[in-house]
């Protein structure tokens, strides 16, 4: 069973929320202040007011969009993971593990290579389409056969699908020298190349995703009791599930379009948040979004510090934080539940 530490009263959850918020702001600030170049307080303040007179101010101005992107993308990924875990009632559901990010990446690469699509607003659509198709595909494969889809079936179907898709992606990119450089750097997964323009393009999709998740949050609680009970309580199970999936797909598809595939954020964060605030989705989703933003900021900052003066991309850092966590979750489960 999942332990609920703050079960006694609703008062502690707002406090936890405030603390998380403060942490997020502190991290945002560190993300602006820390980097290859050391900057002074004056330079940070100056850059925040829009000046760009010194190198330091220029560096800070460069760090602003990537900080915003890390917050936006992290919250989208965390939320999307929480939604997927709730809908599938599966502790291992995560856009990375299910291969959904790779699916989005594959569609974007096809668009780049075959249809000459090189504008972000078009590949957001492609990425969302790819994410959606892959999600449906993996879900379909793992729910064929007897019984409910177990975490094992899910993870295997996801791993297998992403292995296949990444080999297709290589096959598409390889003969095209003109796009290979861009596609390769994009596939590593990063927030480094962010601009405010590109963030603005995906923002509407993310907002819709956030809104939809807010709508289904309460309904997901009754879904957690099982389909039959939820139907008995008057929920339209298929509808709830559909909206939650759609919102999860929108969130991780749009994020992948702009950052490339980033794994494990959606896996780690909802679990940590569940330990913190319990299983009520109305709280869990909010916390997962904030927590995801924090994790991605931490990963981005770590990537900048570890290999100065070059950078380690976020995707690599999140995999190194996330995989041990994944193993821990697997070890916690009883064999029968796998």
């Amino acid at each position: 069973m999942i332990r609920t530490r703050f079960r006694k009263g609703p008062v502690t959850r707002p406090i936890a929320l405030v603390i998380l918020f403060v942490i997020l702001i502190a991290l945002c600030f560190s993300s602006i202040a820390i980097g290859t170049r050391n900057v002074s307080w004056q330079e940070i303040l100056g850059a925040l007011q829009g000046q760009m007179n010194t190198m330091g101010e220029a560096a800070v101005t460069m760090r602003l969009p990537r900080t915003v992107l890390a917050v936006v993308a992290g919250s989208a990924l965390g939320l999307s993971g929480a939604l997927m875990q709730s809908v599938t009632r599966n502790p291992l559901a995560d856009p990375g593990i299910l291969g959904v990010n790779i699916g989005a990446a594959f569609f974007v690469v096809i668009g780049l290579a075959w249809f000459g699509i090189n504008q972000l607003q078009s590949y957001v659509w492609l990425a969302i389409l790819g994410a959606g198709i892959t999600a449906i595909f993996v879900y379909f494969i793992s729910s064929l056969g007897l019984g409910r889809p177990t975490p094992l079936k899910f993870a295997l179907a996801g791993a297998a699908t992403s292995a296949a898709l990444s080999s297709f992606t290589v096959a598409v990119v390889l003969p095209r020298n003109d796009i290979a450089g861009g596609a390769n750097s994009w596939q590593m997964g990063g927030v480094g190349g962010a601009t405010f323009d590109s963030i603005q393009l995906v923002l509407p999709f993310l907002l819709i995703g956030f809104l939809m998740s807010a709508v289904v949050a309460k309904k997901l609680n009754s879904l957690a009791l099982g389909d039959d009970v939820a139907a008995g309580l008057g929920e339209n199970v298929a509808w709830t599930r559909g909206i939650a999936w759609l919102s999860a797909v929108l969130l991780c598809g749009a994020t992948t379009a702009i950052c490339g595939p980033i794994g494990f954020v959606g896996l780690v964060i909802p679990h940590l948040c569940r330990l913190l605030v319990g299983v009520d989705n109305r709280w869990l989703l909010v916390f997962s979004a904030l927590g995801g933003a924090c994790l991605l900021l931490i990963a981005d900052i770590t990537g900048r510090i570890i290999s100065r003066p070059s950078e380690l991309s976020v995707g690599v850092v999140t995999a190194f934080i996330g995989a041990p966590f994944f193993i821990w979750i697997v070890r916690r489960q009883r064999v029968k539940e796998l």
């Binding site: 993870a155 295997l156 080999s167 096959a171 390889l174 995999a319 697997v330 070890r331």
Partner: protein
């Protein structure tokens, strides 16, 4: 009464004879297939070299024109493909039998990526080459396999937990490979692809020696345990009651499979899906007529050679073999997942 027993005995004998003759027959066919693929790789490329010329070159004669093409370009490819394919095929099926799940092949549970990461690390960071790379990646591969096993050990090692933990470990290792490659002084895409999906493009004849040794040593070890491994197909408990020492057999299977994979992967990279595909194909062909290890090795060899040939000559641009086997493997994989889900998790 006695008549009855005799009749049953002769029926069993007859069945056994029929099974073994079917097995022999399939082995002969597979060998012919491997030989056919081998000779096509040798004689038919951008240009055609007649079999007699190929034979002359193989016997060490200097044939103008053909010597370079066959001896330097095609022969190393063919030999390395053959040996690597056999290694991957045998190792793959051994893992699949041991864990009783076709999806639990070394390329899916992280053993292949572990050995590849070790090889990349040895080459890029430690500047090693040749046998020391192979040795290093065997050691690291064993470490990875043992840690996956140890991490999944809780009141006994459960197969499902082992597979899941393998997936997690392999995700971590793969992003490690990406990082290592991005740190390499010359970011060469062909080289990078070799390590990410596997390729025999840079095959050289002297690399065949470590492969051959590992195939004899580790492959031999696997084959010497054929009977025990076959018993594992019926489940650990049944195998145990048939007198198989399950723990020992597991250790032998893990060690020798990791050895096979590591030496292969340190030369060609993890050729996608070969280890995964060979076993189920062998299972389909052989059914319950005998051991799967040798057939699976032969099928692996066929897959790599044909995949390489397709990647080189039959497509619009030249792809490394790993991309071809990856793309070929995908539909089969999906079919397999669906079938396994329908029937439960046995090979």
């Amino acid at each position: 009464m006695k008549n009855n027993v005799n009749a049953t005995l002769s029926r069993i004998k007859y069945g056994r004879k029929q099974r073994s003759s079917r097995w022999n027959c399939l082995i002969v066919i597979l060998c012919l297939l491997v030989m056919a693929a081998f000779s096509i790789t040798l004689s038919l490329g951008q240009s055609f070299t007649s079999p007699t010329e190929v034979l002359k070159v193989l016997l060490g004669e200097n044939v103008p024109g053909a010597s370079f093409v066959v001896g330097h370009l095609r022969l190393p490819r063919a030999v390395i493909s053959l040996l690597v394919g056999m290694s991957f095929g045998m190792a793959g099926v051994a893992f699949q039998i041991m864990l009783r799940n076709p999806l639990a092949s070394p390329d899916i549970i992280g053993v292949s990526s572990g050995t590849t990461a070790a090889a990349v690390f040895a080459i890029i960071v430690l500047n090693m080459d040749g046998a020391s790379v192979a040795f290093f990646s065997i050691v690291m591969g064993l470490l990875v396999a043992i840690s996956i096993y140890a991490l999944s050990y809780r009141n006994g090692a459960a197969g499902t937990r082992l597979i899941l933990i393998g997936i997690g470990v392999s995700a971590m290792i793969e992003s490690g490979i990406v990082y290592l490659l991005s740190q390499a002084p010359a970011w060469d895409r062909q080289e990078a692809l070799r390590w990410l999906s596997g390729s025999v493009n840079s095959a050289q004849l002297h690399q065949a020696l470590p492969l051959l040794i590992s195939l004899l040593l580790f492959g031999g070890l696997l084959l010497s345990r054929t009977r025990d491994i076959e018993a594992l197909r019926m489940g650990d408990d049944t195998a145990q009651s048939l007198g198989v020492r399950v723990g020992v057999t597991r250790i032998i299977v893990i060690t020798s499979s990791v050895g096979l994979i590591a030496v292969g992967a340190s030369i060609t990279g993890p050729i996608a899906f070969v280890a995964f595909l060979s076993g189920p194909i062998a299972m389909r062909l052989i059914q319950n007529n005998g051991s799967l290890i040798i057939p699976s090795g032969l099928i692996g060899a066929c897959l790599v050679m044909m995949g390489d040939y397709i990647g080189q000559f039959l497509l619009t641009s030249r792809y490394p073999v790993g991309v071809v086997t990856g793309a070929l493997g995908a539909p089969y994989l999906i079919y397999l997942i669906i079938r396994v889900n329908r029937k439960g998790g046995s090979l």
